[in-house]
């Protein structure tokens, strides 16, 4: 198993982190036995690039996100995932995070009794390999919260407990800004957000993108968020694999025509 290093420790000879997904097959256990959800996903995401993955419900988009992060519910049955040549699938969930993979979740989990400030600091300590200096850390968190219009009182609340949908998503993006991953996977971060929240969250994502140091995998059902976050590539996800790839113009086509073309010809998993 590989020794993990934080993104800032990445050696200068490999300036561009690259996530390579090759022929990825993933199953979940259902009552009727294992069901294949991902059926051969091929995708390469380089640092600095933004890829939008769009697709209808049930196409396997979220499965891709959770599989990359290592959720135990999903079983990889074939293919490979490599980050800078290292085998991601061999890593545990926390090792993947420390290697630079970040998943902003569609449904962030409540953790009663654990304060946001404690959580953020524990997480930053794990990712950076050392505890951030208290003084600079407090300032760093405060500024990041201000940029996302998060009430300072938020820091003393328990992680995601009693958060509104918008607060949960802002909290995810706060972590993204603080943890500065090499690869950010945003799983339907736009869902359930009103226009104001969508704008604030998108601005957060764009700040991280502007550093040029993150490769972004933006998973979404709707084109709405793409008005704020301009993708370099758009991929249509259907039936557990990428059905079509293109530039930003592909999103416009989807906006016009929907997913009809991609889902016909049988039910999807």
């Amino acid at each position: 198993m590989r020794q993990c290093s934080s993104p800032s420790h990445r050696s200068p000879e490999v300036p561009m982190a690259t996530l390579e997904i090759n022929d990825l097959h993933v199953s979940v256990e259902t009552e009727g036995g294992p069901t294949e959800i991902l059926r051969g996903v091929d995708l390469t995401v380089k640092q600095g690039e933004t890829h939008a993955i769009m697709g209808p419900n049930g196409s396997g988009k979220s499965t891709l996100a959770y599989s990359l992060a290592g959720h135990p519910k999903y079983t990889v049955t074939g293919g490979s995932v490599k980050l800078d040549g290292e085998d991601v699938l061999e890593m545990s969930v926390d090792e993947r995070a420390r290697a630079g993979v970040f998943l902003a979740m569609q449904y962030p989990v409540e953790v009663p009794g654990v304060s946001v400030s404690n959580f953020l600091r524990t997480s930053a300590t794990a990712i950076r390999g050392e505890a951030p200096k208290l003084r600079t850390w407090v300032k760093e968190v405060k500024e990041a919260m201000e940029r996302l219009s998060i009430d300072p009182a938020f820091a003393e609340r328990n992680v995601n407990e009693g958060f509104s949908g918008g607060e949960k998503k802002r909290h995810e993006i706060l972590q993204l800004e603080l943890l500065k991953p090499a690869i950010a996977i945003l799983d339907e971060t736009d869902s359930g957000l009103d226009v104001d929240a969508l704008r604030v969250v998108s601005e957060g994502v764009n700040r991280v993108r502007e550093s040029g140091e993150v490769g972004t995998l933006l998973i979404t059902h709707y084109t709405r968020i793409l008005r704020y976050i301009k993708p370099d590539f758009v991929h249509v996800f259907a039936k557990g694999r990428i059905a079509e790839s293109g530039g930003a113009e592909l999103a416009d086509k989807l906006e016009e025509e929907g997913y009809e073309e991609y889902v016909k010809g049988g039910a999807t998993a």
Binding site: D94, R96, R98, V109, V111, G113, F119, T122, Q175
Partner: protein, 393 residues
């Protein structure tokens, strides 16, 4: 209202609010309270008060076969002004806070040699806790201790149980008017110990009684913390924390008897369970009698099941005989340690062991903060951490 959600297989949560002319809390017991062990039939295990307890692990405390042959080393450190006496059964200060309610408690009352009476005089405000350290050196022992707290006195009492023992011992707390008492009882026995104890508190007018029961050790621990009120304006806070490991049976059976107007009670017990055949039982009876108008009460039990194979029985029971109260409620919930929480924390780079520790600490944090004694709080946190270390390594 009783809420129960996310209950894993092998656990049960039931709750009831009864509005009755006649107390079912009393009638559910197989015999009325008595000081005499002969008034209680030997339990067979199907009685309401025994149905969760593995009688065969009581080592004879329930059927008269447990002869007092063992030793418990007792150290009492009492600040100046506090008196410690050994007295016999007929001393008038004994038995005022309540009678034994089951055969094992009555056995203790019938079998102890000398009782301890620890007196905090009227108006005394103690700056140091009264500490009672009981260290079992094996074998059967019986005991009885009375804490007699004078009017307007303030005291913290810490009772510690360690070592190995088969012990049934009752404790009384008699609080004078306006007294303020915090009692911490820690059951940190070896994993072979058997311990049964009835805690009776009689809380005087405008007095405040705070009980913190902490159970970590023992093969079988069965405690009955009970509160009744000696005058209006009194308040009782009953907190409990338990960490039930593989094979352990830890049972806490509470009764708050609101028999006096304008009194308050708040009960909060939280437990974590891990390992095969870890069994926690929590019974929370609150009785609001017809005369107890103006009562304000709430009780809560929460359990966190860390591994498969453990079992929780949680039964809150609220009986209300008058509608003229400020408030009454209860809640009970048993939840499994959520893999989703673990995943969320690990997805932020936090190693599994640390993630588990965060979640369990978080579960207990609110309760630990209620104790208000920093050294006890720290000890509890480190003890919880030690339990977790044992589980993940």
């Amino acid at each position: 209202m009783a809420e129960a959600h996310n209950i894993p297989a092998g656990s049960s949560t039931t709750g009831a609010i009864a509005v009755a002319a006649e107390s079912t809390t009393a009638t559910r017991m197989s015999a009325p309270p008595s000081f005499d062990v002969a008034d209680f039939p030997v339990p067979h295990g199907r009685e309401e008060e025994w149905r969760f307890t593995p009688l065969d692990r009581l080592k004879g405390l329930h059927d008269g076969t447990a002869q007092a042959t063992g030793t418990v080393k007792t150290e009492v450190s009492a600040p100046d002004g506090v008196t410690v006496e050994k007295v016999s059964r007929d001393d008038a200060r004994i038995g005022r806070a309540g009678k034994p309610v089951d055969r094992v408690a009555a056995q203790a009352f019938s079998s102890f040699e000398k009782a301890s009476v620890i007196t905090v005089p009227k108006d005394a405000v103690l700056t140091e806790p009264v500490r009672v350290n009981l260290h079992g050196e094996g074998g059967v022992t019986y005991g009885h201790t009375v804490f007699d707290i004078g009017a307007f006195a303030e005291a913290v009492i810490v009772i510690d149980h360690t070592g190995d023992a088969v012990r049934s011992a009752n404790v009384e707390f008699v609080l004078g008017d306006g007294a303020k008492v915090t009692v911490v009882s820690v059951q940190d026995w070896d994993d072979t110990a058997v311990h049964c104890s009835q805690h009776n508190a009689l809380v005087g007018r405008d007095a405040t009684f705070k009980s913190v029961v902490v159970t970590f050790g023992g093969d079988l621990v069965r405690l009955n913390p009970r509160v009744s009120y000696g005058g209006p304006g009194a308040e009782a806070e009953l907190y409990g924390l338990y960490f039930t490991d593989a094979g352990q049976h830890q049972e806490h059976r509470l009764l708050v008897d609101h028999d006096t107007p304008n009194c308050r009670s708040n009960v909060a017990y939280k437990g974590a369970l891990q390992g095969d055949d870890a069994h926690a039982v929590w019974i929370g009876d609150v009785l609001i009698r017809a005369e107890a108008t103006g009562t304000d009460t709430y009780e809560l039990n929460r359990n966190l099941v860390l591994t498969d194979g453990s079992r929780v029985d949680s039964v809150p029971n609220l009986e209300i005989e008058t509608g003229e109260i400020v408030g009454a409620g209860h809640a009970s919930a048993t939840g499994r340690f959520e893999d989703d929480q673990l995943f969320y924390l690990m997805a932020r780079g936090i190693p599994e062991r640390e993630a588990r520790r965060l979640v369990v600490r978080g579960f207990f944090a609110e309760l630990v903060q209620q104790i208000g004694l920093p050294d006890v709080e720290e000890r509890l946190i480190s003890r919880i951490e030690a339990e977790l270390e044992a589980s993940v390594s």
